[in-house]
Each structure stands twice: as C-alpha cells, then as structure tokens.
Assembly symmetry: C2
Homo-oligomer: 232 residues x 2
DNA sequence: AACAAGCGTGACGGATTCGTCACGGTGACA
DNA sequence: TGTCACCGTGACGAATCCGTCACGCTTGTT
C-alpha cells in the first residue's frame, strides 16, 4: 500500500515493526544508521518516515531538523519514536513539527494505527484547500465556513476542530485523537474542554449542528448525510 | 495565457474587456445570458469567472451561489462586478466568497490587474499546503510558522498577513492589497492598523524580521534572500 | 535647511476567546 | 429499575487579541 521508511538501530525492534507492517500491506524499509537517512529518503521517496530519536552517532533530532530544512523532504510526514522520559522536555521545547509521536514501549499494532491515521490525514488533506461536504464548504485559505453559500465566522479552535472532523467524515474521531490534532501534543486541557467547543460549534451551525454526532464512549463524528429522522 | 469567462449583459462593456484581455494574452469568452453560465463553465473550464451582478432575468447572486454550491465549479475564482452603491449591503451581508470585487465604472486595465493578482494567488497557492521560503516554513494546515525548524505561534491575523506576503515573495504588496487580502472587502480598519501588525510580526520573527521590508510610499515585501548588509 | 508625508512604536481599552468548573440529564448495563 | 459513567450546558474569570491613537523619527523634496 504505502512505502514506509523506518530509522531504528535496534534491529529486533525494526524487524518486528517491519514484519507487522508487511502483514498489513505496507512496504517497510529499515535503516539503522542515521547517516544513511537523507540519501535513502531521496532515493526511495517514502510516504512516511518513522524515526527513532535514540540513534548511535548522529542525533535523531538533527536528522529530523535536516529533513524539515530541505525542501525536497520537508513535506514528508514523520512519526517520532522515543524512550519513555527521555528528552521529553527537549521535544516539548522544540514543539516538533512531527506528525505523530510514540513512546517506547509500544505495540506494533499501535504504530500501525498511528501510521494509518497519518496516511489518512495526509492523503486526504494535502493538495486540497477547500473541503466540500454536502451543505458545507470549508475554505482553509480564508479560514471560513460556508453553509449553503453563506459565510459563518469560526474561531481558530473551532475551525481546526471542524476541519479535523470534516477531513475524515463518517469516521469516528476519538477524544484523544481530537485533542492531539486540534490542541497538539503538549496540551493539558481539561476533559470537558473538548465538549465545550463541540457545543459552541453546534451552536454556530444551528440546525446543521446535527451533523456533528456523538459516539458515546468513543468520540465524535461528522456525518455529511444525516440518516432519515424518525417521525415522532 | 488563461481562459476567462465574462458574464456581462452590456455587450459594449463585454467587448471592451474582451479586447483588452486578448491584447494581454488571455482568452476571453463572453456570455450575456445568466442561464448559460453553468453549462458554459462546465464546457469551457475557465480559470476565472468575471461576473456582473446586474443581469436581466436571473440574478447574479443566484448564479454565484450556484457556482459555489456545485463541487465541480466551487473552486473556480470569481471576480464580481457591481455598479456603485448597488446592492452593497446585500453583498456585505453575504460576505461573498468571491476572490475579488470591482465597482463600476472601472478601467479595463484595472480589471486586468485584478485578474492577474487572482491568477497569481490561485496558481501559487492552491494545491500547496506548505510554503517553504529560506529559513521559513509556513504550515497552513496547522497554522504554524517554523523558523529554522522551531515553531512560532502566530495569531490569526498575523498568520494571514505573513502568508499573503510569503505567497508572493519579492513582489511589493500595496497597503490596499494587504488590507483587502487579510481583512477582506468590508473592512474599515484605520490606517495604522496594518503598520501595527507588521510591527508585531517583525517582533515575533526576531532578527529574521528583516525579511519583511518596507517599500516606502507603496507597501511591504517579503524578501526570502536578504541583500548583503553593508559594513558600518 | 526646512517642511511634509510616510512610517515605527508604545500604550491602552474593549472585545473576543478559551479553559475550567459545577450541575443536571441521558444512555448503558446489570 | 437503579446505578454509574458519560455527555450537554451555562456561567465565569483570565488571558489573549485587536484596533486605535498619539508621538517622534525618517525620508525625500523644495
């Protein structure tokens, strides 16, 4: 399905991941040496890079910065692996432009889910500046929402929240996912904050607020097509 | 160069515009009847639509709404023509998702400039979610600016302002242009507001603020490459 | 050199926005 | 049917953001 570059020096971990990804239909390329990353990326054109920060020799952060600094590689999504507790403050300070972030130890399944999420996001989003969903039209460029052709003003957070929901409509976004996508990694917003913003969004959408559906115990979902309502 | 659809019932005006655009290397197609707009757009695939709001029969606003409601035509830039004073409140209320806006009477030259500006914007912007300029990387999707790899937080206006400047770097953006692009048409911000925001931007960029250059008497400009500084 | 227009800058008040909390309602499950 | 986790909602304070103004410097022109 997709080509994935894995930068990881511990060969057993790399192999485990690779095996699992292959089984899921992805093509995994493993690299243990940091110095080979740049050439490998330029040659192989992976769709995603999984980067372990703990590498012998070259620092993982350095690699990451170089990837982001080069025009040819800046757009490639990167998922960062790090040991628990290690360099977390450094990362927080960097506010890294990584697309996701995973702390060891983790299960291959977990990594696979993250990769899927990133792929989903990237493939749908990149190269589309306007999202059309039924009566809704989201204009990223001007940060505006059009409902039946009339413009609605949204705040920054409301816009990001709705964008995230609409990018992948009809899929359930868990609370954790939304918090991560909208607020970022190092966010310590309280539990009810998300609910409050969902509520404000629904308010602004008026009757169309029904398109934002609560999936109890899981999260929220944007439904472009509403199911036929039952008569009272 | 580009195919442009002109919807205008006064044939002399349409011809004048058409002539001028042809001379500038564009292909102009004229339509006088509102009902023919949709089929013409679907057949001809114009890059830009110039739409007169004052049409016999079908209302220009209706046409505009239909264009925006249809997925196949929603992304096409529209420049709206209107007589002075006419329906302005209606338009303000709509906050129309038009790409530009011209009040009659206007010179063909003026329209041409607007068209050029829109084309420039659209061609560069659409389909690119990240802008790379030297040490800067603008991430529209997450509304973040990366300077040498580290993230900077910008407010909504700051982000739009910088985006506008960076989209077309090394070209001078007049104050009027910036006010229009960042604040929108119906904005009544005072003269110094723009200056203040430019200042705040420069502050946040730190030393890199020098990339935002003042063109005295004209406007501002983003220079990706700074000229070699003179020794004191 | 003197003047005027254009621009940079600091300060300030109002408006918006955001996160948090408490409370009540609702659905799921035993 | 009762209990509990989960969710909706209103209110509130703090923080941020934004537009405006006044003042002074700079630039270029006469």
């Amino acid at each position: 399905m997709s080509k994935i570059l894995i930068v990881e020096d511990e060969s057993d971990i790399a192999e485990l991941i690779s095996l699992h990804l292959n089984r899921e239909g992805h093509e995994a390329i493993c690299i243990g040496n940091g110095l080979q990353v740049m050439p490998a990326v330029l040659e192989q054109h992976p769709e995603i890079i999984v980067l372990d920060l703990m590498l012998p020799g070259l620092d993982g952060l350095q690699i990451f910065k170089r990837l982001r600094a080069d025009t040819r590689t800046a757009a490639i999504p990167v998922i960062i692996l790090t040991a628990k507790g290690q360099v977390t403050d450094k990362i927080a300070g960097l506010e890294l432009g990584a697309d996701d972030y995973l702390t060891k130890p983790f299960s291959p399944r977990e990594l696979y889910l993250r990769i899927s999420a990133v792929l989903r996001r990237v493939k749908k989003v990149t190269h589309v500046s306007e999202i059309q969903r039924g009566r809704f039209m989201l204009d990223r460029k001007n940060m505006k929402l059009f409902l039946d052709g009339t413009a609605l003003d949204l705040t920054t957070i409301e816009f990001k929240l709705l964008t995230t929901l609409m990018e992948n409509d009809s899929t359930v976004h868990s609370r954790a996912d939304l918090l991560r996508d909208v607020w970022g990694y190092n966010s310590d917003v309280a539990t009810r904050t998300l609910d409050t913003h969902i509520k404000r969004l629904r308010e602004k959408l008026g009757a169309a607020g029904e398109h934002i559906v609560t999936i109890r115990g899981t999260g929220f979902q944007f439904q472009t097509e509403l199911p036929a309502s039952q008569p009272a």
